[in-house]
């Protein structure tokens, strides 16, 4: 092993060493991440997944603000025990409009990827205000202010515009709206239209009355609306249980 190469060259040249170190560690990242953009099976072909409505999206913002992801994952792994407890494993397609995704890496509380529809709205409200009144052994903190804090809806459209910049198909122009009608159907497309964001949010909150209090729209309304849609967009009864095997 006597090349005409001396590692001294690297060790005595900090600039060269920095460049080569970065090259070496970026190989791992490139090999794992870059192909996902070229492989045509990265995102499963599945019906029903749509971007969040303005109210759900605001609930998602609150979910992030309160740091729920620190204790709750949104990623059901393809293991038997997880299937039995949480349901069908999560698909890449189901978080394609999440920026950033909420997969999480730690479960102090249960996984929430399919919590939508599992409990009633009033359970969520009471559980958020006083978790131990519903689940005695819970270690979750109380979040009573969600019920008493009115939801700030003034910047709803701007938040959607920001997400539009990173690829979520919220529509601004008539052409984009029409494209959404084709892709998601008219009911969903209306919810994704940024100029109507505030109106849509108020309508959904008043109709759903998620926090059980009709006097106003609270942060609880938004958060419960978000939780109730998690994992419900794909109707798995339409697919055989191995429909997504070929995508991995």
């Amino acid at each position: 092993m006597n090349f005409n190469f001396k590692h001294e060259w690297i060790e005595t040249n900090i600039g060269l060493m920095a460049v080569l170190t970065m090259l070496a560690i970026s190989v791992g990242g490139l090999v794992e991440i870059a192909p996902l953009f070229f492989i045509d099976k990265t995102i499963e072909k599945v019906e029903g997944v749509r971007p969040y409505t303005p109210l759900e999206q605001r609930g998602r913002d609150i979910f992030q603000r309160e740091g729920c992801y620190a204790c709750h994952s949104q990623m059901i792994r393809p293991f038997r025990d997880e299937k039995l407890r949480y349901g069908h494993y999560s698909l890449a397609a189901e978080s394609q409009y999440d920026h950033p995704f909420q997969w999480g890496s730690k479960r102090t509380g249960p996984d929430l990827a399919r919590v939508g529809g599992k409990y009633s709205n009033e359970w969520h409200v009471q559980h958020m205000v006083a978790p131990r009144s519903m689940v005695p052994e819970s270690v979750m903190p109380n979040y009573p202010w969600l019920l008493s804090t009115p939801l700030d809806i003034s910047d709803t459209a701007n938040r959607m515009k920001a997400l539009r910049k990173v690829g979520v198909p919220y529509s601004l122009s008539q052409a984009e709206f029409d494209a959404n009608v084709t892709q998601f159907g008219e009911t969903v497309a209306r919810q994704l239209h940024i100029p109507d964001a505030q109106k849509n949010l108020v309508e959904q909150a008043n109709f759903g009355n998620y926090d059980g209090d009709r006097s106003g729209i609270s942060e609880m309304d938004a958060l419960v609306a978000y939780l109730q849609v998690l994992g419900t967009m794909v109707d798995f009864s339409k697919y055989t249980d191995d429909a997504f095997v070929e995508f991995r």
């Binding site: 393809p78 494993y89 009633s120």
Partner: protein
């Protein structure tokens, strides 16, 4: 300091000298380290051959390892190794031990299941874990419920009926309770009279004059409570209107206060504000028909079902 091994004369130094005489030997890597390194390279080559590894165009190299499973349509399929196929294989294996029981559950009537001692063991253990994950968050670990929120499943009082069939309907389709807000149509005095009458039905301390007036309201057309709670106030199971005569309380937390006046006050609160809660989710999409059947029997046995 321990004795240094004598350095062979052929080992070179790195060539630097600090402080005049501080030098550093340039030893080759230990042999064990070099061979371990080569071994990890060989391990990686073997691993790449067996399992999915390198991307290739729009796909990837699947590896030589295969998994064979039977899917929900009954077809036997073979796919290159991945965790999703592995899950199905794992579920197939689990199904071999569980399926006979679930097949029996599907084939038997509720009455047969309840009488079969073999099945009751299965129902108890399978039902317990299903109940713990899906029902206990609301109805609590023992099924005792929470006053003001979720009904007790261990007593004899069934809002929608305690037969196998009605429990099955409740589980499959869910439920939603509703009672109008009576503060919009009745005066405070009338609500107080009604509350006293409702208290009298369960033998709770009340004002007899007010209760008599409440009786008239209950059966009259102004409040028309009898529409839902029926004329004898024993409720209507078809719409989930509770029996008001059994001193079992779900919405008004009557047991929490000792004073009769306090008990009447909480009843007044329910009449005034009405109810638009008591939502039970539908479980048809989330649980399999066999799982729902197991839970039906489990819940039926919890509360001395009817």
């Amino acid at each position: 300091m321990s004795e240094q091994k004598p350095q062979s004369q052929t080992v070179q130094t790195t060539g630097h000298a600090w402080d005049g005489d501080l030098q550093e030997y340039n030893n080759p890597l230990p042999v064990w380290w070099v061979y371990t390194f080569y071994a990890t390279v060989i391990f990686a080559l073997v691993y790449w051959t067996i399992y999915p590894s390198w991307p290739l165009g729009k796909g990837w190299i699947g590896g030589v390892s295969d998994i064979t499973y039977v899917n929900s349509a009954g077809e036997t399929r073979t796919h290159s190794w991945n965790t999703r196929a592995l899950l199905l294989e794992d579920l197939n294996r689990a199904a071999i031990t569980q399926k006979p029981y679930f097949d029996k559950v599907a084939a038997m009537s509720y009455e047969q299941i309840a009488k079969d001692p073999d099945m009751s063991g299965f129902i108890l253990s399978a039902g317990k874990s299903l109940f713990a994950e899906n029902c206990a968050p609301c109805h609590q670990a023992g099924g005792q419920g929470v006053i003001g929120f979720f009904p007790n499943l261990t007593d004899d009082d069934w809002l929608y009926g305690g037969s196998f069939d009605t429990i099955h309907t409740t589980l499959t389709g869910g439920r939603r309770a509703y009672m109008p807000t009576f503060s919009e149509v009745l005066s405070g005095e009338q609500i107080d009279q009604l509350a006293n009458y409702v208290a009298s039905l369960s033998g709770i301390g009340h004002d007899t004059t007010k209760a008599a007036a409440g009786d008239a309201l209950f059966h009259g057309e102004t409040a028309a409570c009898y529409y839902c709670h029926s004329s004898n106030a024993k409720g209507r199971k078809d719409i989930g209107a509770p029996n008001l005569t059994d001193n079992i309380w779900l919405w008004a937390d009557v047991p929490a206060t000792d004073a009769a006046e306090g008990k009447v006050a909480v009843i007044r609160g329910v009449i005034a504000n009405g109810l638009n809660k008591g939502v039970m989710p539908a479980w048809a999409g989330r649980l399999s028909p066999e799982q729902i059947k197991v839970l039906t029997v489990y819940v039926h046995e919890l509360g001395g079902g009817q």
